[in-house]
Subunit: 390 residues, 2 copies
């Protein structure tokens, strides 16, 4: 009952770009002072300028203002901060109802489930067979006491992109706050907050070859949000804790290094993979929408194939494959995403996720597809079910 | 109304040790995979081994077991997790009363104040004129519905060390959980959890030349603690979020690099600073206890001197000085620590914190004391109050 995934980039956490580390180094060894104080010494002021410059770069990538960016320790913290912060701020003022999609990644999904345990009313909106949110269902579920809708931008497993402009419009009309987890789409699929009335956006550095342990939350000016982590007055009093300035600077450098050309190349590797697999391997299903998907993601079910066997065989050939989603670990449950798009356990079981990154080439794509082709053939030859049905 | 501080090590956040960065590098560039999955591919398993090895090193430093260590994004998160986690777990079972000291650093102090706003009953225990906790007051405040005592190990400003063995014993006898914030003492003053019945310990990497954005919480086996940050099952299901493996590995390396000899040298720089200042500059007060203090800290009030002027003059001479505590920023309030030990605004105003680190030498100490001696003399010459009173 496993959802198998292969990372051409060898991990859900991408390799750090050397240029990112170079940008961080001065803040490790020279300008390492605390930047919090406004009455600071020269080094502290330099460090603060580095932090503010990084904040400006992240803000600019969304057409936001620097004051609207809060640095965090990653996307999990950003989503916890967003949802719990708004819930704490509006609980007594408006109500205790929130809405999320059924295929959210664990930071949003499990935060919603935790709130449910605490007495919150939570609706989980369905998606169609390609993972696209049912907008009519969303509209029908919004009530007077609904305080927040949280629907992801790009899916973590099947790459499906939601129409966040349409969702934001619905929320705006109904006067409900809208948060989107953009961990898997940030910098690959543009979001312009001056055009789309989204209130909060979760971002992470690790998906774009930035450092781990660093993320950010975009918070539209005026959004009611209770402080996350008590402590000092850092991040405009929205998140206590000594700033991870090298991390923020590295995140900003990672943002600067992403180019449209590179993103187009990731999409071309994705499309080439899908094309070759569909032309050369029978009994396959593409999970997710063909066009509305993140450029770096392909997710394909190879029917009549055992996931664990595939993992082992690919690993032996030097391809990094993992089971379950990146946030998943101790469970043998089938992926809630594959089940959410109407797949059964058999489909979840034989699915492979390809994640393309900066350090991949078309040669890698050919090599992994060649390997899969051989392995699938071998495994099917010894599969009783395949020989009976196919 | 400022508490002035000088960092001989130039910051409350110490300079990263190059050897720490070298230890982190393989996890940036080679073994960067997600280590969460238990059914993982080879690289993921290698990364997981790196994480577990780091966990073992932190555990060993406290005579704890690896399962008792939770990695976090720093001491602020560790203290929030500890206090809020226990409060959430025991609220309905035992009560809503907690106890902290009056001179805690902001992560503990402001978490306690936040809980107070939410309806919790919080007692703030006094300290004497050297910052030592009143154990009789502590004993008298523990009630049947008290669930937690949180008292720091070493103070962030005046360096005073609390007798955490005695506090832990009191808590153990009264069946109350005990958390200590050891951010400023960890690895400089030993804590052995096999000898001292402390339940939770906050630690941070940035104070021992490790990376920023990384900390840990020791959680004694069996301690009731609600999960912090919903998401994946990382950190034995106690903290969701992709593991910052390079950060954890860097933290562990920083721990390994601390030696008793180095700590003794920091103490000798501290003692030499105090000796020279008291012999050569009149009208000074040592803040904190002379013996029960962290080896790297000296905090001295220079009476009849304006804090802001001192800052400016020292900065011009190349010494990094900050105003307010490290977690403090936008406020001109006097330090709650100096007020807590019975100091007045004038005393808070002219206090300087010295923090000694790996990259300091006795020459640095002489240079900064020489500079302070000159500056204090100049500033007093133009001080009407000094010329009237002294």
């Amino acid at each position: 009952m496993l959802n198998e995934m292969i990372y051409l980039d060898n991990s859900a956490s991408t390799r750090l770009d050397e240029r990112v580390l170079d940008a961080m180094k001065p803040y490790f060894f020279d300008t390492y002072a605390v930047a919090t104080s406004e009455f600071g010494y020269s080094m502290g002021i330099d460090a603060k300028e580095g932090l503010q410059e990084a904040r400006g770069i992240i803000a600019n990538s969304l057409t936001a203002t620097p004051e609207e960016i809060v640095f965090t320790s990653g996307d999990t913290e950003s989503s916890n901060m967003a949802i719990k912060g708004v819930c704490a701020a509006l609980k007594k003022k408006k109500g205790q109802h929130i809405i999320v999609s059924k295929i959210e990644d664990f930071p949003v999904l499990n935060t919603a489930k935790n709130l449910q345990k605490q007495g919150w009313d939570v609706d989980f909106i369905s998606v169609d067979s390609e993972g696209i949110l049912d907008l009519d269902e969303l509209k029908s579920k919004i009530r007077d006491d609904t305080i927040l809708v949280s629907v992801q931008h790009g899916n973590q497993e099947i790459g499906t992109l939601q129409d966040i402009a349409a969702i934001a419009k619905i929320c705006k009309e109904k006067d409900v706050l809208f948060h989107t987890d953009a961990t898997h789409s940030y910098m690959r699929v543009p979001i312009d907050v001056s055009q789309i009335p989204v209130d909060m956006i979760t971002m992470s550095a690790h998906t774009i070859h930035g450092p781990r342990g660093v993320g950010a939350l975009y918070v539209r000016k005026g959004t009611p949000l209770e402080k996350w982590m008590d402590g000092g007055f850092q991040e405009s009093n929205r998140r206590g804790g000594l700033e991870n300035i090298p991390g923020a600077v590295g995140f900003a450098k990672a943002v600067e290094l992403v180019t449209d050309k590179e993103t187009e190349f990731l999409a071309s590797m994705r499309d080439y993979t899908i094309k070759r697999v569909f032309e050369e391997i029978p009994h396959v299903t593409l999970n997710g929408n063909k066009k509305q998907r993140t450029p770096q993601n392909a997710n394909i079910t190879f029917h009549y194939v055992e996931g664990e066997s595939m993992t082992l065989h690919l690993d032996m050939r030097g391809f990094a494959v993992s089971t379950g989603s990146a946030c998943f670990s101790r469970s043998l449950e089938a992926s809630h995403v594959i089940l959410g798009i109407g797949g059964d356990h058999e489909r979840a079981h034989g699915s492979i996720r390809f994640t393309f990154g900066r350090y991949n080439s078309m040669n890698d794509v050919d090599a992994v597809v060649d390997a899969i082709k051989e392995i699938v053939k071998q495994l099917r030859e010894i599969s009783p079910l395949y020989n009976k049905e196919a």
